[in-house]
């Protein structure tokens, strides 16, 4: 990252900058979703864009997630670059046919002739006391479908660079943003940059254990790594940044180096992102491992409302620390 002209901006500002820059660069890019124009979405991520780009390019829709996602598929096939806004990640369930049966399959079914260059931006993450239908992390669902790409940024820098790449991609890309991260600040260069999809980022180097963490869990893993350092355990934290394409080599190489790995993701562990990444590491680094690969995901329950109940569903620094310490045979 160049250190000239680097500012501290929030995750939401980084997303907004990426959208504004791509909309200035390419008149085909437009945003479609509920309350995206004057309201700038409930999270205010899009505030100010309508003033610059107008309502032709920030299109407020009815509450019809399937409808406007399907419309975006057709618009993408015929020369536009839609960025669909799905207010809460829980609502992707309403778009499943459009994404899994249409967007993901059009290119393949047409023998490579039609393309669907669209982005779906949505959220993940619990801890906002929003209960079971506004708190889920369902990125594994889309990661399962050939034809889709799935991006999980964990810093303002990554959010901006990855979103710009996603908008320029020729395929449907689903971009999950952690709701709790919108106000988090981080360094972002003023200069133009992009980050390729499918390249993991080593957020912290270490020798004794690999913590693979995604999205909201990257800060948790970094916090756990700091705690582990106090007891003399050197943890490496790796953020794959995209679940598909997946940078298997970086994950496997790190596990080979450290001989231990924990995979941490806010989605459910069962049949989830942690299961897939743990399998990749187990297959790729089996002979180098000194312990089984551990998975840490959300508690396998609908996300409860009551704060003391919700809090136990999400992996914490302390719980990662405890699992890592046990894995490294430290007491």
């Amino acid at each position: 990252m160049p250190d000239t002209n680097t500012r501290e901006i929030t995750f939401a500002e980084a997303v907004r900058e990426a959208l504004a820059e791509e909309m200035r660069r390419d008149s085909r890019v437009f945003i479609l979703g509920e309350d995206v124009a004057e309201a700038g979405t409930p999270f205010k991520v899009l505030s100010g864009l309508v003033e610059e780009f107008g309502t032709k390019r920030l299109v407020d829709t009815p509450i019809s997630e399937a409808g406007f996602t399907g419309l975006a598929v057709g618009a993408a096939m015929t020369g536009l670059r839609p960025v669909v806004d799905i207010m809460f990640g829980d609502f992707i369930t309403l778009t499943m046919d459009q994404m899994a049966n249409q967007a993901a399959k059009v290119h393949y079914m047409s023998g490579g002739k039609w393309r669907v260059p669209m982005v779906m931006r949505t959220t993940l993450g619990a801890a906002r006391r929003s209960a079971a239908q506004h708190s889920q992390s369902l990125h594994a669902w889309f990661s399962h479908v050939p034809g889709l790409k799935v991006v999980l940024p964990s810093t303002p820098y990554d959010a901006k660079g990855l979103l710009k790449t996603a908008i320029r991609d020729e395929n449907p890309v689903v971009f999950f943003e952690d709701k709790m991260m919108f106000k988090m600040k981080g360094p972002v260069p003023a200069e133009e940059y992009t980050i390729p999809l499918g390249v993991a980022d080593v957020k912290r180097e270490g020798d004794d254990i690999t913590l693979v963490a995604t999205s909201s869990m990257v800060q948790v893993a970094l916090g756990a790594a700091a705690l582990l350092e106090e007891i003399g355990v050197s943890a490496e934290v790796i953020d794959p940044r995209t679940t598909w394409p997946l940078d298997e080599k970086t994950l496997v190489d790190s596990a080979k180096k450290t001989s231990r790995a924990i995979v941490i993701d806010e989605g459910y562990g069962r049949y989830g992102v942690t299961a897939e990444i743990a399998a990749v590491i187990a297959e790729g680094a089996f002979h180098y491992l000194d312990a089984p690969v551990k998975r840490m995901g959300a508690l396998h329950v609908p996300i409860p409302f009551s704060p003391p109940l919700e809090d136990v569903t999400v992996t914490t620094e302390r719980s990662v620390f405890d699992v890592a310490r046990a894995l490294c045979n430290r007491s």
Binding site: P62, G70, L71, Q102
Partner: protein, 336 residues
């Protein structure tokens, strides 16, 4: 509008009035679809065609009447019963048959098959095997036309079974709000697979569109001239910026839901089928009219039939002889 088949004789064309030339073109196109489907039936019955075959026989006037009113760069989306739409929009029988047989030379390199023919060169956004699966795509194509400032129109074909899918209403709502140039063509063939539409559809079909303020028309889907005339009006409206339309075409599926659907008495009578086949066949209706009004004589029509029959036979031979894709192609085209 392009013809599916070989070039018409230019000398013969020059003798005809423009309208008569158009009617003969539509006749040829309907017959081409009919003969194409007869070959599909044969291929499927002889176990040469894998998968499923949903024949369009009996409904040809809808695809042909509608597509005759479109330009090459207008868009269509189609359905699992889509061969007729694709041919009417300009697809070549050779590559259609090749796709149906899973061959590399097919429109989708054999990856889509009967239910997924797609072709950017003729504005065919794709046949879709999810009922109402393409209403979003068609509406999005219309959104794109308007956004880009072109006059392209999108036509969304679907059966009356699609009236059961909620996403259709989401799309019609947005199309009307934003005055999008999309025409929703509902082919009411009365049967949702093996169930009569009266058992699946409450209320009035057209009222579903008018509730959104969408301009709606109903037409005899066996009368290709009527289908064409009303579509031409709706296309003109859409190009002018007057927004979407809903066109209910009452038609009939002369065959079963798919080729293997032979015993149909439990859902419809043989008498009903006979009546539609003898009295309401869209190709017979047009040929009778052409002869009665002296736009063509029986010999001319017979000649068209013979030409098309030979063309379809050759197309099938092309497809049978064409090679399958090699196994390594399975992993290509997942991502652009």
């Amino acid at each position: 509008m392009s013809t599916v088949t070989g070039q018409p004789n230019p000398k013969a064309e020059t003798k005809l009035s423009p309208d008569a030339a158009k009617w003969l073109r539509m006749y040829r196109q309907m017959l081409a679809i009919r003969l194409f489907e007869e070959q599909v039936n044969e291929l499927y019955t002889r176990a040469l065609m894998p998968g499923l075959a949903h024949l369009y026989v009996g409904e040809e006037a809808v695809a042909v009447g509608v597509c005759e009113a479109l330009q090459n760069d207008d868009y269509i989306t189609s359905t699992h019963r889509g061969h007729g739409h694709c041919l009417a929009k300009g697809a070549s029988p050779n590559r259609m048959f090749a796709e149906l047989l899973g061959k590399e030379a097919g429109y989708c390199k054999g990856k889509g098959g009967s239910m997924h023919i797609a072709d950017p060169a003729t504005g065919n956004l794709g046949a879709n095997a999810i009922v109402a699966g393409s209403v979003g795509i068609a509406t999005g194509a219309a959104f794109s036309s308007k956004y880009r400032g072109t006059t392209q129109v999108a036509v969304c074909f679907f059966g009356e079974g699609a009236l059961g899918q909620g996403v259709l209403y989401e799309e019609m709502n947005m199309a009307q709000l934003w005055k999008l140039p999309v025409i929703y063509v509902c082919e009411n063939n009365s049967y949702t697979e093996y169930t009569h539409c009266s058992e699946t559809t409450a209320g009035d079909m057209v009222a579903r569109a008018t509730a959104f303020g969408v301009h709606a028309e109903t037409v005899d889907g066996q009368d290709v001239r009527a289908v064409h005339d009303v579509t031409a009006k709706l296309v003109e409206r859409a190009r002018r910026g007057d927004g979407p339309a809903f066109l209910l075409c009452n038609t009939y599926r002369l065959h079963g839901h798919h080729v293997g659907d032979i015993s149909r008495e439990y859902y419809r009578s043989k008498q009903e089928e006979r009546l539609w086949a003898t009295e309401r066949d869209p190709i017979k209706l047009l040929s009778n009219w052409l002869v009665a009004n002296k736009h063509a004589d029986a010999a001319t029509l017979d000649k068209v039939h013979a030409e098309l029959k030979s063309e379809m036979q050759k197309a099938v031979e092309f497809a049978i002889a064409a090679p399958y894709p090699t196994a390594d192609k399975a992993s290509e085209d997942v991502y652009a």
